[in-house]
Symmetry: C2
Subunit: 187 residues, 2 copies
């Protein structure tokens, strides 16, 4: 009946996500997206409505991408040892040819703060809570821990995870590794 799209929406969103991850929301312009995604502005607006829409899809794509390491943690059965491995896996995940991008979710929380769009902020808080619950699930494998301890430690590890993002932007890998080691010392 008519012409078909000459691009794959998933593929172009992956590229968009890369830009947002590296530069943040405001510091990524539609012109930059156009160039990186390899399609015209018209096509961007036709597929995703507006810049906000491209960003929301990018967040979803990020979650899909990070699923590789969260699934690994889900399969792990070592309690706190598995979570510690998750921290190291995340360091690799967030490092892209020596460019420290941190976590897209943490970056966005930092940029938009509490004045950010409610739809986006809700998405981000949900992501944080999923990770926290996953930590709690794994901590339960350490049989000696009671429920209040598990919840406190899961919360602690969630925030420690968030902290890795600003830290990774100014510190050396050695310092980050020392940090992870000390973080898990008293659990």
């Amino acid at each position: 009946m008519a012409r078909s799209k000459q691009y794959n929406e998933g593929e172009v969103i992956e590229k968009a996500m890369g830009l947002f991850w590296k530069n943040g929301y405001e510091n990524t312009s539609v012109r930059m997206l156009e160039k990186e995604m390899g399609i015209n502005q018209f096509s961007i607006y036709a597929s995703f409505g507006n810049k906000h829409g491209v960003f929301l899809e990018s967040i979803k794509y990020y979650k899909k991408k990070i699923k590789i390491i969260t699934d690994k943690l889900k399969r792990s059965n070592n309690g706190v040892v598995g979570i510690k491995q998750y921290f190291y896996d995340f360091l690799d995940f967030s490092m892209d040819d020596n460019c420290k991008k941190g976590c897209l979710v943490a970056n966005t929380v930092n940029e938009l703060g509490e004045n950010g769009d409610p739809v986006i902020m809700d998405e981000l808080l949900n992501f944080f809570n999923e990770i926290r619950e996953l930590f709690a699930y794994n901590l339960k494998q350490d049989i000696e821990k009671d429920e209040p301890t598990i919840q406190k430690q899961a919360n602690y590890l969630g925030i420690a995870m968030l902290g890795l993002t600003p830290a990774s932007k100014i510190l050396s890998k050695k310092q980050l590794e020392d940090y992870i080691e000390t973080t898990f010392l008293n659990l």
Copy 2:
């Protein structure tokens, strides 16, 4: 000989810092600064050169402002107990009529990343190191600790401090307090 300035540079920088702290660098426009500082754009450029200059002065002013709580830590003689109090003091410091602004330094690290202006990034890294050294100084008061332990713990606490900023933007005060408690459990 000529007209004198009708504003105090320190006073207007305090207001500028408030905006940068709340909104970040890119999300604060010169028009917004003009309004908040209460002076014309011409005066801004006459006093500080450009937006970048206003921001640098704002960072310096922030350091001066946070000195109140770092000085308190310097005077403290309780080792790790004093540092823990510093964490709580910082929570109060960064909370402004229920608006969670985090730490201006951490915010900027997050926004600009490693692509940020070298002069600014240097200023930020210096600030982090000063805090880390202050932590080390206080940790030395705990006589049972050896030097390598002190350095690792100081690094750990510095990053934990950084993490408080993204965390404060989505989590409750209770969660942040739990986090601080767990952070200091095994030090």
